[in-house]
Symmetry: C2
DNA sequence: GAAGATTGATGAATCAATCTTT
DNA sequence: AAAGATTGATTCATCAATCTTC
């Protein structure tokens, strides 16, 4: 009886393990090191694994639109903006991706007709990305699909999800994800 | 006054934002959608961002050994094993990576002299990876470096880290990360 | 000179197909 | 036929360098 993930990824998990590989790593660690510092390692490993799981789940959910989750995020940024247009640089800041990546993300959206490029009216250095009508339709449909699977965060409760987000926020603040002005107060 | 991350990634964050980009996305979402399903989206986005942050932090910490975190995990698997040798397939299962990735990870370790390949004594299909003496030294030193920065999980407390790990474990179980036999009981 | 965006190149990760061994 | 590993191809992300415009 193959597990859900196993059926989808035959190359990665041909024969499912009988133990938690992440916890097992922590156990062997403890045996060799003594242990007070086991937990951060286990947490970091868990984040990496979850990123892998989410990437698979979310990309599969919207693959029929030829969207990756990264492209979806860019599309939603345009969709939720007031005018439907944003400078590429501003989008890169919001999504925290390299300018080069922003270029290729918009390339992808443009290729599928979900967005288009236009010159900035006043600053000719800047390129404006604009969502198309088709892009709005797809954004709404893709969001339905992702909502239907709770953005991959099953089987967490609302409280667990909120607590998780808050914990991760602290690390993001520490990393300087944005200017946390309240931190001074 | 540039933030820590900003100084390191000039291309990504030339001018730090004044707000939390993740929370801002959730806010705009709420304004357009109504809201009950905002939290899973925010949580997923947070995981993606944290993966990015951890990747940067951890890779930087051990870059002087020519190790990436993925290579470090493979090296530690050998380091913590009883005999110092493991079949590539078994390593791939533990680390949950594609066989192809396992090949290139060992290629990297072998290139630096941290590990070597050897034929399996009985099954000639199998390749055995073995950690070298130099590999053991580097494994210990790299672990020190990573411990010194708490595996990137600053500024979380022990309780927060443990709770985070437990929450993520539930999602991993759901994804079939391993055969959770206790789940039946 | 600096900001905004792009092109070309490098490294990592998965997939498809191949090869050997069981 | 299936398991184990590898090669080659594709995609994605970042970096370095370039180009235009402010």
């Amino acid at each position: 009886v193959p597990t859900a993930a196993c059926g989808k990824l035959p190359g990665i998990v041909p024969q499912p393990l009988r133990f938690d590989p992440v916890e097992e790593a922590g156990r062997q660690w403890r045996a060799n090191w003594g242990s007070p510092t086991v937990t951060p390692m286990t947490a970091a490993t868990s984040i990496f694994r979850l990123h892998q799981i989410l990437t698979t789940r979310l990309n599969e959910a919207i693959a029929s639109f030829d969207l990756t989750y990264a492209r979806y995020e860019a599309l939603m940024l345009l969709f939720l903006s007031r005018t439907g247009s944003l400078p590429l640089g501003k989008m890169g800041q919001r999504l925290q991706v390299h300018p080069t990546s922003m270029t290729s993300l918009i390339d992808g959206l443009e290729r599928d007709g979900y967005a288009s490029r236009a010159p900035h009216p006043t600053d000719r250095r800047t390129t404006l990305a604009t969502i198309t009508e088709r892009g709005r339709e797809v954004a709404a449909q893709a969001t339905e699909r992702l909502n239907a699977i709770d953005f991959g965060m099953v089987p967490l409760s609302g409280d667990e999800t909120a607590a998780l987000t808050e914990t991760l926020r602290k690390v993001r603040v520490d990393a300087g994800d944005w200017l946390d002005e309240d931190a001074d107060a």
